[in-house]
Amino acid sequence: MNLLVAQAQQIEAPEIDYGAIAPVLIVLGAACISVLLEALLPKHQRWAVQLVLSLLTLVGATGALILYATSERRPAQGVATLAGAIAVDSPSLFLWATLLVLAFGSVLLIADRSVEPGGVFVAQAAIRPGTVQDRAQATKTGMQTEVFPLTLFALGGMMTFVASNDLLTMFIALEVLSLPLYLLCGLARRRRLLSQEAAVKYFLLGAFASAFFLYGVALLYGYAGSVKLSSIAAAAAGTDRSDTLLFAGFGLLVVGLLFKAAVGPFHAWTPDVYQGAPTPVTAFMAACTKVAAFGGILRVLTVAFENTQWEWRGVLYGVAVVSMVIGAVLGLTQTDVKRMIAYSSVAHAGFLLIGSIALVPNGTGVSATMFYLLAYGFTTIAAFGIVSLVRNSDGEATHLSQWAGLAKRSPIVAGVFTFLLLALAGIPLTSGFIGKFVVFSAAIEAGLTPLVVIALVASAVAAFFYLRVIVLMYFSDPAPDGPTVSVPGAFTTIAITLGAVVTLVLGLWPTFVLDWAGTGTFLS
């Protein structure tokens, strides 16, 4: 016993900068409380309490973030806390803020119960699809309120992920963000088999990707003798070790990251999962997972692998091309609006990857990519919000032919969706254009001009499928038994408005966010 105490005294408790990591602590702490509430509260009270708790959490975490970001004592280059496991620097703060605000929009979509009576989530997930009980529950108005703690856990994982300063923390964060998402995907109230198939697919492929990631971490540990990002960079600067270990490790690690970011050719899960998951969850994944995954990619590439970039840049160059081509070309053939946006997100992942590898000469690629992530996230959330409104008796009418003539029936919804599609296409006066512009500028300055030209051609190809939807909505005659557009409740309205307004404002006055994204670099 004495020996144990003596040993315990030798372990130094790490310094914790509570102010810096307060936003993450608030989110994860609230997630735990939320689980307890799920156990203690009677069923009819849960939805309201959970919703209030989630929203308060997001507001509180954002408040803590603002308080810390504006405080005098915050060191400009950032701070590593928890024994160097978490780095809170300017990019972390930007990405956290992005995640929190995007999560706010997503939670509003998740909470909506007016578009689909009772919400889009299943009342009892354990009931088998197609059974008598299942048909009974389809008409009930309750929902599985566990989605709220699951969302908060996923968000906490994402926030940790973008701030992890070593690969092991990153892996754990990856799992914390992934596991709730797998569950969330399978909770749709309608088309449950499709939803469960999506969840299984996502889980199986995600588990593979995690394995790749972990294997990569192991190899890099073998190479550098440490999982710290900065130690890997330091080890790579010396020349006496085996490059095989380094690059094999890098490759496996990056495969895991690219999978999460839905970059082609690691995108195979994306269309199925986007289509099958409940639309608010799709919005949450499309916006927040993208931010988290690219946040992680940016940090790993910048902090750990910057000095070896000339070795790996060619590989990611190729991956970016493949991703853009897959997204743009396969997007052309889609007939389902959710799958179309999924392929569009693969193309966008290619554009984001361009920004992520534009590290020379002055690292404008990092701030450009972060701006793009913010802009893309808002546009996507609003777009999926609109998708959830167009419905027929079977739920959402996602087949494109059902969108014909929508502008005649509901000009406002069609108008907003058109604007969002133009933003995704990168037409000027939208945030999508400014995002593309900053990323491409950074890439041209980094000497990636051929890649930019390919990206521009891919943008033009992708514009075709966005335009096709606009053509359908405005220039085609509506089908007689076409879907109706639900009048959105307050939550969905706020989420869509938030997304559309940010898309417009960042298209017109991007300076504020651009400056903010460019304030600092990663802590190394």
């Binding site: 041209i444 606009i470 053509v471 405005y474």
Partner: protein, 522 residues
């Protein structure tokens, strides 16, 4: 006087906003839209008087910061070339609204929506010509597509969806490639000056000294966008579809105004920014230009559809304009710019007249008409006048510009000029043949006879038709154009005076001087 330019940009937008609230009442919408477009015309005249030929390169300039991080400013200003283009927009829009007064829109569409889009298009197009920041120019270049996309797609003919998407994608792709070049120029500026900028005047000074290889790439990026827009063969295939499917007023805007952004861009951006590349690649452009003249003329001759005919006529004319621009003599340059103006007026008039024919017969097929001058002599006369100015008959406005282009190009590019002259002969062929088929001879054609009245009319060689001649509204629309066609045919000097200094400045920026024979010719 900068307020005139600001007002020119703002008035149509305000008009569009007001009109868009009048979707219930078509007549009121038309009156309000017409009123706003007339105000714009008055402002256009004021702008003309405010511009001082021989003054600063860019006049009435103003600007505010937009995205300081990238040195992007909302800055506007005009030179003589932009001035004539803005003036012709202001002139044509009221006529377009007047000509389309009784046009039937597709079911479920209101005049309010249509006219609001037209006014937005007017504002954005004026802004494109007035922008003096390359980034702003690009933004407007792409934004310009959106109202036009909805105008073609929402109000056009049977294949309007196809035409609208094709139009949009062609221009969008061209614009994106131009964006890459613009960013390249920006990166050069930030290397050289320490801080990036998109200001046109500054970029010109930075980029024009770049090494030839870089210049060539940047040139090609901009050139592709302008060649699609202008359009030059082989980037022209969107135009016949767009022109054929768009409603007639929109065809006037596409062919008469939007296309000029391409040639305007060559003068404003390609030549001053990339002088070396412009000179090196001039043979390429000249080949495309001459091929455009001949190909456009031949295809125009063979068209069965009047609106497609118009598109190919324009392609031929754009060949002439590009020939003049890339011959690098001041006469040819002045000729090209005045051609841009005169093409808008002549072709605009031709399109409006053909629109009046189509409004009567309900068909755009040439073979559906014949001997129309018997029932509509005034209309026939107008078609003849607009046709003759299209084929550049001496005494009409186009003759002056075509002649200037040809004599200006001959000293530097004799071969291309001679080849292009064949286009003039073909122009006489396609115009007069069109007139002959539609207007002369006995009354015939399904479109005319479908309107034949009385029982037992079929089979009667003396069938009558209810188709009438021009009414007062149509005369009022065409009369100003006839006056301008003749006035500029005999007294082109006021226009040439405005253009000449700006063209001279452009050529100085390229660093070319007129060959001796041209200087003596002055």
């Amino acid at each position: 006087m900068t307020w005139v330019l600001i007002a020119l940009l703002v008035v149509p937008l305000v008009g569009a906003l007001v009109v868009s609230f009048l979707r219930k009442d078509d007549t009121k919408a038309k009156l309000v839209a017409l009123a706003f477009s007339v105000v714009e015309l008055v402002l256009g005249v004021l702008l003309w008087t405010a511009y001082k030929p021989g003054g600063d390169r860019i006049q009435l300039a103003f600007g505010v910061d937009w995205i300081p991080a990238f040195g992007v400013r909302l800055s506007f200003g005009i030179d003589g070339i932009a001035l004539v283009m803005i003036a012709v927009i202001a002139l044509l829009i009221p006529l377009v609204i007047g000509a389309g007064w009784t046009e039937k829109l597709p079911a479920g569409r209101s005049q309010g929506g249509y006219l609001a889009l037209i006014l937005v298009q007017e504002a954005v197009t004026v802004a494109v010509f007035a922008a003096t920041d390359v980034f702003l120019f690009y933004v407007l270049f792409e934004v310009m597509l959106i109202p036009m996309y909805f105008l073609i797609g929402g109000y056009g003919g049977a294949r309007r969806q196809y035409a609208a998407v094709k139009f949009f994608l062609y221009s969008f792709l061209g614009g994106l490639i131009m964006l890459a070049s613009a960013i390249g120029a920006y990166a050069m500026a930030s290397d050289e000056l320490g801080k990036g900028t998109f200001d046109w005047a500054t970029l010109v000074t930075v980029v024009r000294d770049a090494d030839p290889t870089t210049q060539t790439w940047l040139f090609l990026g901009f050139f592709l966008a302008f060649a699609i827009k202008a359009p030059l063969v082989p980037f022209h295939t969107w135009l016949p579809d767009a022109a054929a499917e768009a409603p007639i007023g929109v065809t006037v805007i596409v062919v008469g105004i939007l296309d000029k952004v391409g040639t305007f861009g060559m003068l404003r951006y390609l030549l001053p920014m990339f002088p070396t590349a412009s000179k090196n690649l001039a043979p390429l452009v000249l080949v495309l230009a001459v091929v455009g003249v001949l190909y456009g003329s031949l295809l125009a001759t063979g068209q069965r559809d009047m609106k497609r005919f118009l598109a190919y006529v324009s392609i031929a004319h754009f060949g002439f304009i590009a020939l003049g621009i890339f011959s690098f003599t001041s006469q040819a340059g002045v000729g090209s710019v005045s051609y841009m103006l005169n093409h808008s007026i002549s072709t605009g008039m031709l399109i409006l007249v053909i629109g009046m024919v189509i409004a009567r017969g309900g068909s755009s097929q040439i073979s559906d008409y014949g001997g129309m001058s018997k029932v509509a002599p005034l209309l026939a006369g107008m078609l003849l006048i607009s046709g003759l100015t299209t084929l550049s008959l001496p005494g009409t406005n186009s003759f002056v510009s075509e002649f200037l282009v040809l004599i200006g190009s001959f000293p530097t590019q004799p071969v291309y000029t001679i080849l292009a002259t064949v286009g003039m002969v073909l122009a006489a062929l396609y115009v007069l043949w069109l007139y002959q088929r539609m207007m002369t001879g006995p009354l015939r054609g399904d479109a005319l006879l479908a309107a034949a009245s009385g029982p037992g009319a079929v089979g009667d060689p003396e069938r009558k038709t209810t188709i009438g001649d021009l009414n007062k509204r149509e005369i009022a629309v065409l009369a100003p154009l006839v006056v301008i066609v003749l006035a500029l045919g005999f007294f082109p000097q006021p226009v040439l005076d405005v253009i000449t200094p700006s063209v001279g400045a452009t050529l100085t920026e390229v660093g070319v001087t007129d060959p001796v024979s041209v200087q003596e010719g002055k």
